[in-house]
């Protein structure tokens, strides 16, 4: 794919790349999202200019170390940001449901009727801690039927039948009995299945899953991932999957969004992210995981330092204090612009900005022909 160091939006890039012909606009399109927490110590810019899109039937994985703003981004979509957090800028265009024109979720009242209808109906969310998100006071069945009746015009009896059908669909054995069980009577894997049943009960167009398998054994994780994939296959829903496990990303993602300190530093198709990462942070993340099948002994590459708190964000490129490719005098002063490499393929690093970076520092085994193109465009 030709690299283009123009700079404009994804749409322009798609046109420039010549295949923007009839691609429908994405189901969910986040642009310039800012979600800030105003605390006594100052403003915490947890999400500070995030752009990402989820197309129809696509699975987009959001990765990054903890504290990078993944969960706050996800919660912003549904108006679930904890106090004192607030969306202070940007838009979240949602084109799902029967809409003819998109609705900007960022502009809706988080406690209002419209967002309440969308939440759990058109877009639903699964959280990391299944035990914590299910109420111990009500049975699984009560919680399922409540969601169903909130969004679908069903009688109590119909809702119960639908709930049991959902429990069966997510692979819970003896669903008629489990309908009357409480969350603490179920294993972690079963709870997560029940959560997924609740999330999918109303046939959402988008499922947001925030680390849904992090607390589970690999054996159970594998089955939950299979389950999400098969439900997606049959219903055509889109999935936004947040995880820090690169193995999971490689397994399920169509596209990957890499976040660092509240911004998106790189995004692209899964194969390109793993085999041709552009951003030094993406490269470093990939190098720090042991690849199974490589045998014993390889020393792992570690990333210097740690993710700072958003209030201690560095000037210039937020990654520069930890970056091995950082250019003194450039990276510590200039906020890197976004370079568009193709449709939905971007990175924020001066190494790809003509006139700022030096191609010799480009990470990975970039094809020399491609490397030459970067300055050639300048």
């Amino acid at each position: 794919m030709p690299e283009m160091s123009k700079n404009p939006t994804g749409v322009a890039a798609a046109e420039a790349a010549g295949d923007g012909s009839a691609a429908p606009p994405p189901l969910l399109e986040i642009s310039g999202l800012r979600t800030h927490f105003t605390t006594r110590e100052g403003v915490v810019k947890a999400v500070d200019g995030v752009d990402l899109a989820v197309g129809e039937r696509r699975t987009v994985c959001v990765v990054g170390e903890s504290g990078c703003g993944k969960s706050v981004t996800a919660r912003s979509i549904l108006g679930l940001v904890d106090r004192p957090g607030e969306i202070t800028g940007g838009s979240i265009l949602w084109r799902g449901g029967d809409r003819t024109s998109p609705v900007d979720l960022a502009k809706l009242d988080p406690h209002g009727e419209e967002l309440r209808r969308i939440r759990g109906g058109e877009i639903s969310m699964v959280f990391q801690e299944p035990m914590a998100s299910l109420s111990p006071m009500y049975t699984i069945g009560d919680q399922l039927t409540e969601t169903i009746r909130l969004h679908l015009p069903m009688t109590k009896a119909e809702a119960k039948d639908h709930a049991i059908a959902m429990l069966r669909k997510v692979g819970i054995p003896k669903p008629e009995q489990r309908f009357n069980a409480y969350s603490f009577q179920l294993s972690g894997g079963m709870c997560q299945r029940a959560m997924i049943a609740i999330a999918l009960a109303c046939g959402p167009g988008l499922l947001i899953a925030d680390e849904p398998t992090t607390a589970l054994d690999v054996t159970i994780q594998a089955r939950i991932l299979d389950l999400i994939a098969s439900l997606q296959e049959s219903s055509g829903m889109s999935v936004m999957f947040i995880t820090h496990d690169l193995g999971v990303v490689a397994e399920i993602a169509d596209e990957v969004v890499v976040m660092y300190l509240g911004t998106v530093v790189e995004r692209g198709p899964v194969d390109e992210i793993f085999h041709d990462p552009k951003h030094p942070y993406t490269q470093a993340l990939l190098d720090s995981v042991p690849a199974m099948g490589q045998g014993r002994g390889q020393r792992l590459r570690q990333i210097r330092g740690r993710v700072p708190h958003p209030s201690e964000r560095a000037e210039g490129c937020p990654f520069h204090p930890r970056c091995d490719s950082a250019i003194a005098g450039v990276c510590d002063t200039t906020e890197p612009p976004e370079t568009v490499f193709g449709p939905d393929r971007t990175a924020r690093c001066v190494l790809y900005t003509p006139g700022l970076g030096t191609p010799g520092n480009v990470p990975g085994d970039t094809d020399p022909a491609e490397e030459r193109e970067v300055p050639a465009n300048g």
Partner: protein, 375 residues
């Protein structure tokens, strides 16, 4: 009881220290280890049952190695680790430890007093870097605690040794007057490691030492553990449920299911050619960090229904989830299959040469017939 973890040759493998080649002398020999937890009704109520958390484990740890212990949540990994460091008293079995002073003692049988001197040599690193450090103690107090408790150092000498240890784990000695809340997960895990190492142990039981950490921090702690092992001549029992981490750092791997070791082999042999169906299923469930491998390899999915360790299934404990189970053989009441090497000594897993060649043991009735897939 036969010693299944020793080479199959009939020569007595458990000779006392000093009588054989040093390379052959194990550091720790666990035999028939059992740990039962009573289930009580209410807080002080009557005893209504028993969780058989560890059900007859035989395992030998060799000096200088990193032995991995893997398995699903609740299979008894932590319980086994805690029996070894003797924060738990096992219900039955022996833990023969070849001490620094040349003596061989049974840690399982020692009382608290005699135990103390050996507990210096066998230390534990906890899983959770956040809850395992007392927030009211400085790093000096936390790390120096075992030295002071044992009356081994105080005052300036204590500070010197804590400073030295901080340096060793990659933290500035100047941090010793700070409290743990000011540190990140990775830094706290370094403090945990420093605390375990201050007594200059020989065996370190590391219980999920990197599970709660971010990938990049995890890499630095794994590298640190590796460096310390070389520098201080340490032996590790490395408990984890992350099979990619275990492959990276361990020499041998023991796979545990419902309180028992079901497979034990050199890391490469186990990952390339597992001999137990449970190991095969575990390996196939690990997501591979390469999208091009998607859909390649075998996908074996186990049911979520782990049997209750208070009422383990009869026969082979894995038969309720095993895809290869044959009801007549595997579910037959009585003791399940025991750990055995491959019938043919030149068969799979028995290829490694040298004095410490690792037999590839599996506890499955059909281990010799099945052809299982690794990574």
């Amino acid at each position: 009881m036969a010693d299944p973890t020793a080479p199959t040759a009939p020569t007595a493998p458990t000779a006392p220290a000093g009588s054989g080649g040093d390379a052959e002398t194990p550091l720790l020999e666990i035999r028939g280890l059992r740990m039962d937890y009573p289930i009580r009704h209410g807080m002080f109520g009557r005893h209504i049952g028993t969780v058989r958390a560890v059900t007859g484990v035989d395992l030998t740890i060799r000096p200088g190695e990193t032995l991995g212990l893997v398995g699903e949540s609740g299979c008894g990994k932590t319980t086994l680790g805690r029996c070894i460091v003797r924060t738990l008293r096992p219900t039955a079995g022996t833990i023969r430890y070849h001490a620094r002073d040349g003596r061989v003692v049974d840690l399982a049988a020692l009382g608290q007093r005699e135990l103390r001197r050996y507990q210096r040599e066998v230390r534990l690193v906890f899983q959770d870097p956040f809850s395992s450090l007392n927030p009211r103690m400085t790093l000096l107090e936390i790390i120096g605690d075992p030295l002071r408790n044992n009356g081994l150092a105080q005052g300036k000498e204590l500070e010197r040794r804590v400073g030295e240890m901080l340096e060793l784990v990659g933290l500035p000695p100047g941090y010793m007057r700070r409290y743990p809340h000011a540190f990140s997960g990775g830094e706290r895990q370094r403090v945990n490691i420093a605390r375990a190492l201050i007594m200059r142990p020989r065996l370190v039981v590391a219980d999920e030492p990197v599970s709660a950490l971010d990938v990049s921090v995890r890499a630095s702690i794994l590298n640190l553990l590796r460096d310390l092992q070389e520098e201080l001549d340490l032996t590790y029992l490395f408990i984890s449920h992350d099979l990619s981490v275990v492959e990276n750092i361990c020499d041998r791997v023991a796979v545990m299911y419902l309180g028992n070791i079901v497979e034990l082999a050199g890391t490469d042999a186990l990952y390339r050619g597992p001999r137990h169906p449970y190991t095969e299923a575990l390996l196939s469930a690990v997501p591979r960090a390469d999208p091009r491998l998607r859909g390649s390899g075998r996908r074996i999915r186990l049911s979520d229904d782990l049997p209750d360790p208070a009422a383990p299934p009869p026969g082979c404990a894995f038969h309720t989830r095993c895809h290869y189970a044959k009801a007549e053989t595997c579910a037959a009441p009585g003791a399940g299959p025991v750990l055995l090497p491959p019938p043919d000594p030149s068969g799979r897993g028995g290829t490694a040469a040298g004095p410490a060649a690792t037999p590839h043991l599996a506890a499955c009735h059909f281990a010799g017939d099945l052809s299982l897939t690794g990574v």
